[in-house]
């Protein structure tokens, strides 16, 4: 009986923790947002030479910090491998996970987590050396494939090969740099991961033209920020921090013209978003009136963030594609902020 006591105590602590909500209060009391990011993925989260984190996922962390704390710099980045990310989020070590995490039914419903939107629509592709002479993923029967463990890519590849009656030999890798090293060294014939990451990897090869990304995109990979169950207010804050960036782009508000737009009394949509009229949008989230103003001022709108991190002028050279606004033929669509 005595031996059961510690277990009972820990279970009680466990339930107590799940009941205790108030992530926003915790963050504000701490004065810093703890954000789980990738250990290093070009364009999404990498530390630069000066030790400052940069990337599309990092910008989302900064947006949430700007909304909740008024300062985009008040973020503590916690680099996480794909294996431990959900455990670390669930244990309360971080407040939000922004780490190229694919939104799936299973993850949403069995892990006690909520996906707060999609900050990048991706899909899984295959890259092969041109010398192999392969032009379609259907010709990959018997190939050895470098796959990052603990990710949806693992499952997708298994399903795709099974469906098409092909076999493959997985070469499990831990990180994207390990995957690239193995692929370059010829330890696998094929490298598979999200198409954005393939583009990133290919751009840094000595001879990018010697490798081709096959036309088949075998999966839907909506990547987005994740929070714990049980704190709807925090869920809303993360969700609307992302939406605010999209709506700002849609309204044509960016980090340079926002003061001008906010002062224009004939522009109620912009004024509502920027908190310069009498609307109480920030209050409804439990935040400052200037929550969206701070995001756009310090981080920028979605387009600014996209172009700065993964867009045309970066080494990744990614098209907006699916990630264009719905008005431009993409599927990035935010509910109105009214």
């Amino acid at each position: 009986m005595k031996k059961l006591l510690p277990i009972a105590v820990s279970l009680a602590a466990l339930t107590a923790m799940n009941v205790s909500a108030g992530t926003l209060e915790d963050v504000q009391k701490r004065g810093v947002l703890k954000c789980g990011v990738s250990t290093g993925l070009a364009g999404f989260a990498t530390p630069n030479d000066a030790g400052k984190w940069e990337g599309l996922d990092v910008d989302l962390c900064r947006a949430v910090a700007a909304a909740a704390l008024g300062d985009a710099e008040k973020v503590e980045y916690v680099p996480l491998t794909s294996k431990v990310r959900f455990e670390v989020l669930k244990s309360g070590e971080i407040d939000v996970l922004s780490r190229v995490t694919t939104w799936t039914f299973t993850r949403d419903n069995s892990l006690g987590l909520n996906f707060a939107g999609v900050n990048y629509y991706d899909g899984q592709g295959f890259m092969v050396p041109k010398a192999l002479g392969v032009t379609s993923a259907k010709e990959l029967d018997g190939a050895s494939i470098c796959i990052q463990t603990g990710t949806t890519t693992e499952l997708n590849a298994a399903e795709y090969f099974k469906l098409n009656g092909m076999t493959y030999e997985p070469v499990p890798v831990e990180t994207s740099s390990e995957g690239r090293a193995n692929y370059i060294a010829g330890r696998c014939d094929v490298y598979t991961t999200d198409a954005s990451a393939l583009a990133a990897q290919r751009s840094v090869f000595e001879d990018p033209t010697a490798h081709v990304v096959l036309p088949e995109i075998i999966s839907k990979e909506p990547l987005g920020p994740v929070v714990r169950h049980g704190d709807d207010q925090w869920f809303d804050i993360v969700k609307w921090s992302h939406n605010a960036m999209l709506v700002a782009e849609e309204l044509g508000i960016d980090s340079k013209n926002l003061d001008e737009r906010g002062a224009n009394a004939n522009d109620p949509a912009a004024q509502g978003l920027l908190g310069t009229n009498t609307s109480k949008l920030g209050e409804m989230l439990g935040l400052d009136k200037k929550w969206a103003y701070n995001i756009i001022k310090q981080v920028g709108n979605y387009s600014e963030s996209f172009e700065r991190n993964v867009g045309k002028d970066t080494a990744l050279k990614l098209d907006r594609g699916l990630n264009a606004l719905w008005t431009n033929g993409g599927i990035q669509y935010a509910p109105p902020i009214k």
Binding site: A13, G40, G43, T46, G51, V84, G92, S176
Partner: protein
């Protein structure tokens, strides 16, 4: 007939130099490299392999390499042109991160001072002559305390630097050295408990050691990083690095305890009985007779564990602490430096080799010094 042969009495002739070919490098080579046909073949094969590996490596690592003047791998390649060598520029550009992690730039002098203090402490602990002076010994105890306050900050007017900013070599040293110096005393106590005649001590020590040794270090680190916060009251903020330090220390203590137990078992029963016969108390006999001998026997095993522990510190990258390897992985994930994995692994390999080799040489030196002549 002018040549004079000097006459010596029988048996008094001074020793003549040995015939050439039976001493010196020639003899050594004949004995060690060309003593038989198969050895000769192997010698030439070895030379050929060295020829294949070493000159290209030197060319790659030193002659064709680029350190300064390149801001990215592309610029490196441009500078190198046709002769592809190593691009050490990323180590140069990220040197600060490799050494300090994300420790704030203007506070890094504190880490430098701590490095110097730590080096002094280690010198004092290792060099016997220094240890004999009392003031120096007190300094050796004080230095780690000073380093602790310097690195953590938050007192004496120093700005606090949270542990999540620590990284790189600083982190390796903190985890490695804390593990090494704290685990040894714990290990001695554990080993003595395990062979203790009091069942309660031996029971708990055995359970502890077997449990820790039965679990991989990476599991303990996972427990530290994720599971532990489930067991702690909500809202309590138990520093991640501290948790890791505790786990690494108990892990290493359990292993070293078994090494020391091996040393204790090698001491003949006569030594125990002699200590008893002299009327020494348990602690006296341990301190004066048993442990000095047992620890001496255990040196190679203990140092082996230390070296293993020092290298195991790279595992912390899995739970999101950025040691030099983690820093390097993050560096080569950027678009500027992507594709430099060979350089990274060579650099990290050299770093670990220097320290592990140093430890192993010191252990040899210690064995020789403490050798009291049981050698045949």
């Amino acid at each position: 007939m002018s040549t004079e042969t000097k006459k010596y009495p029988v048996g008094m002739h001074p020793a003549l130099p040995p015939p050439s070919g039976s001493v010196g490098p020639v003899r050594w080579m004949r004995d060690n490299l060309f003593s038989s046909v198969s050895n000769t073949v192997l010698t030439f094969l070895g030379l050929y392999i060295i020829y294949l590996v070493v000159p290209p490596f030197i060319e790659w690592a030193f002659i064709d390499s680029v350190v300064l003047g390149a801001e990215s791998r592309k610029e490196c390649l441009k500078i190198m042109g046709e002769d592809r060598g190593a691009c050490w520029s990323f180590v140069y550009h990220r040197w600060g991160q490799f050494v300090y992690g994300f420790y704030p730039m203007e506070e890094r002098w504190r880490v430098d001072v701590s490095f110097v203090l730590t080096a002094l402490t280690i010198a004092i602990v290792l060099v016997e002559k220094l240890r004999a002076i009392k003031a120096v010994l007190i300094a050796a105890i004080l230095f780690p305390v000073i380093s602790f306050f310097l690195i953590t900050g938050g007192s004496f007017g120093l700005a606090e630097v949270p542990t999540n900013k620590w990284g790189g070599i600083l982190l390796t040293f903190i985890v490695g050295l804390t593990g090494i110096f704290v685990s040894l005393p714990i290990a001695i106590v554990l080993a003595l408990s395990r062979i203790s005649k009091l069942p309660i001590f031996s029971f708990f020590a055995t359970i502890f050691i077997e449990f820790i040794r039965g679990v991989p270090l990476i599991t303990l680190l996972f427990i530290a990083s994720t599971l532990l916060s489930y067991f702690l009251p909500p809202g309590s903020n138990f520093d991640l690095l501290l948790r890791v330090l505790i786990m690494v220390t108990i892990f290493s203590a359990a292993y070293i305890a078994e090494v020391i137990r091996g040393g204790l078992a090698a001491i003949p029963t006569g030594q125990y009985e002699a200590a008893d016969a002299l009327g020494l108390s348990y602690w006296q006999s341990m301190r004066l007779i048993i442990l000095p001998q047992a620890l001496k026997i255990s040196i190679p095993g203990i140092v082996g564990s230390f070296i293993g522990l020092f290298k195991d510190t790279t595992l912390v990258v899995i739970i999101g602490l950025l040691d030099p390897l983690g820093i390097g992985m993050a560096a080569i994930a950027t678009t500027d430096w992507a594709g430099l994995s060979t350089e990274l692994y060579v650099f990290i390999g050299v770093f670990f080799f220097i320290f592990c080799f140093g430890m192993s040489r010191y252990s040899l030196h210690l064995e020789k010094k403490l050798n009291t002549g049981h050698k045949q």
